[in-house]
Symmetry: C3
Subunit: 350 residues, 3 copies
């Protein structure tokens, strides 16, 4: 019997099945340093122990998206090794702060299955949860991927499609942020004078700057997350494939867009939830990423006077500045150059 | 009102103005690891807790230039976002050792202003100071940049040009180095048998080795320092610009030259001051950096028997080995290939 | 007298000579983070404090090969700066776990010398030992290199060739692994259900995945190890040389092959010894590395019920998948594409 991991095929998944993923990972300050070097993120809470402690954190927490990527990476060998496409994710909540020396593990439960009419593939929905070694849950989200069947002859399971929220409600936000001593928030140090009240629904912000991506960078990032998806690393096989080149991990785009968004959203220090994310087009090395954001909604959090929530759509493009906020054409199709359409809640001081 | 940072224009600066910069940054051992990977630095004091402790440090201090780059990076969004040119720096002193887990912030005071005769730009002089969260100052230096005016019609301010020392005096050196138990200095471990007395004024040293720079490397470095200057990251816009390619952060060249200088200056473990620095020509990815040094002066430090100071000129070149110590031609112009002319004081055991 | 390091020539080495190497190096969690980003290694013991502690480690140990590379790097300026070729290594044992904040140093003893018949070069054999600042030995190995003579006229020394074991005996293994509470081993978290008993002598495993190497990656890695061998960094000189490009450090290939081998050897968590290693052909940036392994032998360890040892041959190739286990042709020559032939003992839970 082969000892290499063949991955799971569509017929290997059953509703209610629980998969504990390898490899647990202790996150250290060195991971955060590398994350900073990869994206240039400048949010003060994650950058400075002193700034975080003054607010009431134990010390600077690990960047939310680094936590997301590490948890996501663990699910790849079991969930998406035989995936044809990563279709989407939704309902992602950040549940507890993660600090250096915390160890993260991940578990997934199959919550939906639907075979495609071609009989060769099916859609698998999993709820994945990241947790610390003491059992504290730090993150959960649903994602759905199209997975090949090993054997087209296996009968289709009863279809189950989970109900997914379009957006998380305000009372589901903020679990990863202790109650803050918000008087200690220092706008000079955070880099922005704009608090919750300054943002209006419908407001659009061009994040101005552009960042060109190199092969070495996205490979370093994706390996840091121990994400083993083959398309990111193997030029020998990808060179013969559809694009002729290595595909950049979609999460790399999210982190780039988030880092660029500091210019205009400098106080939006924490991603509390990801409502939905769509990778509209692939990114390749040599492309330059730009981003803009729209404020979709604002919300106060029940029982909290320290922070409010901005529901943001952040759009990333490649080789296309965002002065004119590119998104969709009159027929509802994404315009050329758009690569990411991300809908999330960010917390910001009131 | 736009929420993106437009940066300051010449008329936004006033003499005596104090600017507190974002983003505070906790420096960890992971930053030092990445710094080592970026430059291959081998000075024993910064590399080894055991070596440093034997000498009387608390443990291995963070590399001097990593401290410089982090402080410098913070000043960029406020001082040089609308800069036409970075003209120089002077009088840079290292004031206290920085250890892993220290948090660095920066503040700048405007100490000089002089509008150019064209009425469209002016020179801004700032004294920038890096400090720890407990207020300890770790670094200060003056730099001057040519900045655009937003509105050419605004009248010129009275010109103020600060007096800058050509070189720091010996009694201004050594604050970042505790009094060392110099008997514990181990030449085998430090990698060089040559102490203070072995170096003579006028002596020139070819550092022999060359280091080729990749795009991913200088981008990782510059983001590690949270330096947001656009020219380093955006191939989309730089491809249309003067050079057709991304410009490498000048500080990256300084760190490369310093790391190369280990071969010949292995015991010159600490940069105590930077007297002056000039970036003679730009560096681009694919270029190979070489370096050589001349001993300009030597000095003992008042009240210290443990270390002496070498005033060094370190010259870096690109795609040009330094066996013949390239510098200037007979007319006083830098010869082809020279990219950096750096004048600094380094401490070395006596 | 020149202050740059000229390196040692063949006639500078004498039997019994002991060389203490620069630069001591404190290994931090940040080094391990960077190592993970460079190779994507996923062995649970080195990745997770919680996993390692449950087994009886103090916490997650530093990756064995990171320890090897750091120790090896120190020996380069003294042993192989004037080397024509790195001929081989043997008898490498891992002697104690290395944890974050340990400081590593290295010392080498000359154990063999044999001048070549051309009178211009000779082979130098050294036993190099890595140790912590408290004196604990963590690693030792023999390597032999062909080194130039400074002066062909110097008479040849009496030839001494050390006896080297073909493979280490089982009782020499396991010193770097505390006695484990093996009941705590969790196959879901480790990523493999296969323990010692599941592997059979003669079994071959294709590790399936491929990893393309970029210049920035191998340069970052080799500088992280403070390995100064010129051929890895200097495109200016290498561009004029035999290959026209920079040569990748052989240890980078070993680490890539080891990381790829997780797919099939996920529980083989520790390299206990390297019996022999041969770099069959050079690797260059842009090449894609694949790997396969054969089980050469299995052994129980005297007095230990927790772990057993697999003697493995891991073969790495470039731009050649390993489905057919490429190795040698009918005449005993390595086939096109093979770059590494490594013989080592790995420990795995029983």
């Amino acid at each position: 019997m082969t000892k290499t991991n063949p991955g799971n095929y569509f017929e290997d998944f059953q509703i209610g099945q629980v998969i504990r993923h390898a490899t647990p990972r202790t996150i250290a300050a060195g991971d955060q340093a590398l994350y900073t070097a990869l994206y240039g993120t400048r949010f003060a809470v994650q950058s400075s122990d002193a700034f975080a402690r003054d607010l009431n954190y134990a010390h600077a927490p690990i960047d939310d998206l680094l936590v997301f990527h590490v948890v996501f990476g663990k699910t790849v060998p079991d969930i998406s090794l035989n995936a044809v496409a990563n279709l989407g994710y939704a309902g992602c909540r950040f549940l507890a702060p993660v600090y250096p020396r915390d160890t993260l593990s991940a578990v997934s439960e199959v919550v939906g299955l639907k075979e495609n009419s071609n009989g060769k593939t099916g859609v698998v929905y999993v709820r994945s949860t990241g947790y610390k070694s003491d059992g504290t849950e730090v993150l959960d989200y649903v994602r759905w991927v199209m997975v090949r069947k090993r054997d087209a002859g296996v009968p289709a399971p009863d279809p189950v499609i989970p109900e997914l929220p379009k957006a998380l409600a305000a009372d589901a936000l903020g679990d990863a942020v202790p109650l803050l001593d918000i008087e200690a928030w220092d706008d000079d140090l955070s880099g922005s004078p704009h608090h919750f009240e300054a943002y209006e629904v419908g407001e659009k912000i061009d994040h101005v700057d552009g960042m060109t991506v190199e092969e070495a960078e996205h490979q370093l990032a994706t390996r840091l997350y121990q994400n083993t998806a083959k398309v990111h690393f193997n030029q020998y096989s990808e060179g013969k494939g559809r694009f002729g080149k290595r595909l950049i991990y979609g999460g790399h785009v999210i982190s780039l867009a988030r880092a660029l968004s500091f210019n205009g959203l400098g106080n939006a220090f924490h991603i509390a939830a990801i409502n939905a994310g769509r990778h509209v087009a692939p990114l390749f090395a040599g492309d330059t990423v730009f981003a803009w954001s729209e404020v979709l909604d604002t919300a106060t959090l029940p029982g909290r006077e320290d922070v409010g929530a901005l529901r943001l759509r952040t759009v990333a493009t490649k080789d296309r500045p965002c002065t004119d906020f590119p998104l969709k054409d009159s027929e509802g199709n994404y315009v050329e150059g758009v690569i990411l359409d991300l809908d999330y809640w960010a917390l910001i001081p009131r």
